[in-house]
Symmetry: C2
Subunit: 361 residues, 2 copies
């Protein structure tokens, strides 16, 4: 039997801990895994593109545990009442190859993306950052808001989305959360939203080379948390922001980010720093107060690995809905797979005793 965490269970788990605590604890797990970067089997994700979206598989392993995530990206889905991104994943035992946990990862991806964004920002944004512009107020925006309020001390959020309904939804959800000391400002444009912002988070969804931010919108000393650009042909930043003189770009896994990140707009030798370097202290996340720092985030398999292991731990620790699924056979004699089809019941009686058959020799 394989442990199963569905939508109801993850709601229960996040509710029991609070989204703030879930995100902060998960950020700790992700940081710990990024610090042992060289232990992981890393590869760019496997993507199948169609005219309307992409379906991806993101595997990784540390030699003891293996994980993969299935994730789709379909920007047109929202117009049909469906989510742009859905995801699920599996955690397995490398020694046996058996799956241990099957989990929803749609909610969890939003939580882990916010955790990773805040983790990077703690090392890259100015320590006195209090104002964040949040461009793109869709499915991930509440999670980013909670993470930056809780982990960075953000006290003013300046919101903009081309869809005013999305902003109204975010404002409504934030009001319900009553985050301590948080001022929320709905803005009339991106230019208006970035006024006075210490941090700019872009989390838009169009599958095209958009230009959400231009160089004139980015003040010296700002940190840009660029979340939305995450596949070939899908970017959010004007290339001149990346090419700026006093600019530092941090990515998760360089080979994947060259294909999928904002830096797909830049030459192959454009200098970037990997997040593991920053988290292990081998490279600074920010060198000066006036530098522009950019976390060019596309989402890496390691973050889902950390999430699945964290989910497994709290699933086993927290009371409530504990489900399993019969995804793999449980056999008395592992060479007798066929016996599964003929045995009478699943419980106890794994191999019915039968008279030996006659054998011609």
């Amino acid at each position: 039997m394989v442990d199963f965490i569905g939508i109801e269970r993850v709601r229960e788990l996040v509710g029991a801990l609070s989204p703030q605590r879930f995100i902060a604890e998960l950020a700790g797990e992700i940081a710990a895994d990024f610090r042992r970067w060289e232990q992981f089997d890393k590869s760019a994700r496997h993507a199948v593109h169609s005219p309307v979206g992409v379906i991806e598989l993101m595997p990784t392993s540390d030699g003891r545990l293996y994980s993969f995530k299935y994730v789709n990206g379909h920007p047109k889905n929202t117009s049909e009442g469906l989510l742009t991104v859905t995801a699920f994943g599996v955690l397995s035992d490398v020694n046996s190859g058996y799956p241990l946990l099957l989990s929803e990862l749609t909610l969890t991806t939003a939580l882990r993306t916010a955790a990773t964004s805040a983790l990077a920002a703690r090392h890259m944004a100015r320590a006195d950052s209090r104002v964040m512009a949040l461009i793109g107020n869709g499915a991930q925006s509440e999670f980013q808001s909670i993470a930056f309020h809780h982990m960075l001390g953000i006290r003013e959020l300046r919101l903009y989305d081309t869809d005013p309904g999305a902003t109204a939804k975010l404002v409504d959800n934030l009001a319900q959360l009553r985050l301590a000391g948080l001022k929320v400002v709905a803005c009339r444009s991106t230019a208006h939203a970035v006024e006075g912002a210490d941090i700019i988070t872009t989390v838009t969804a169009d599958k095209r080379n958009a230009t959400i931010l231009t160089p004139d919108m980015v003040a010296a000393g700002a940190h840009i948390n660029a979340v939305g650009g995450d596949c070939p042909g899908k970017t959010e930043l004007h290339a001149d922001i990346l090419a700026g003189r006093d600019t530092r770009v941090v990515v998760e896994f360089e080979p994947q980010s060259r294909i999928e990140g904002e830096i797909q707009q830049m030459p192959a030798d454009f200098a970037v720093t990997e997040l593991t370097q920053v988290l292990t202290g081998r490279a600074p996340g920010r060198a000066t107060a006036h530098e522009v720092t950019i976390f060019d985030s596309v989402g890496f398999a390691l973050e889902d690995f950390s999430s699945l292991r964290y989910l497994q731990r709290i699933h086993q620790a927290e009371r409530g809905l504990r489900r399993t699924v019969d995804l793999v056979p449980d056999l008395e004699d592992p060479k007798n797979l066929f016996g599964l089809l003929t045995r009478d019941s699943r419980s106890g009686d794994k191999t019915a005793t039968r008279p030996p058959a006659r054998v011609s020799a």
Copy 2:
């Protein structure tokens, strides 16, 4: 909600149809998909190797449906009471990216491998083939036996395994099946088993370059169904069998088979025919009665795609255990993913009405 086929459900489905009918119908589905080969997105599988085994992901798509299979291969597992191979997979809608069906594929992989073997043999073995040697009597051997009895008209099975217990288990299972007119002979060696065989099936599991068959064991006109060699460093045939003068080798997907199949032992320009060519009549499966034909099978993602679509159809048609899993969220407002965490219950009340929040502007 995503349809779920676990071990119990697949037992129920195979039981309702009979293994013979399941295999024969599935072979028809696989043949139909191989005939529209050019419509599929094809890539070699993604493998993570460890000292004791391998975990693989096998994705494919025809532009309308997408599937992937997770499968492990751990030969040492049987000594720990676990299966060498377990598998599960997902069928998705390319248009939305949403998963439609999550299914066990351990039993199903054994069924689809047997279906593919028999399908290839119908085009490659001599039409008068009645005797089959079956080398390797482990988890897949009953399925191969049923498929070749039912679809090829095999009337004598000559069994050999280095583990006599495995052969005894196969003999016992075959006796229970009472396959019409089938004579079963337990043999003392591979050389004994291949005596008079029209077809030789090798389905052994050691993860190494073994030499199960040598050229002297293969009579003119034989068909070899080589199932067990399926990853780098894991082969079953002596290279001289492949290099034989009057020999024809058919593979599933050439780029994958060059890495994983028996032909990994041969030069990169060694001539092979893809199964799709044979099934569409563009190449013969056998040219003469004295030719040695070899189906160098490694298992291709397309066969799992066909299996998942077939399972989905019979799952919807057959009464019994109909389960779903809450693997993806069902939202009233797809931009309000966060609302999932705050709404009160999952049924009906998808978005609780709340008073509009105050917005500073």
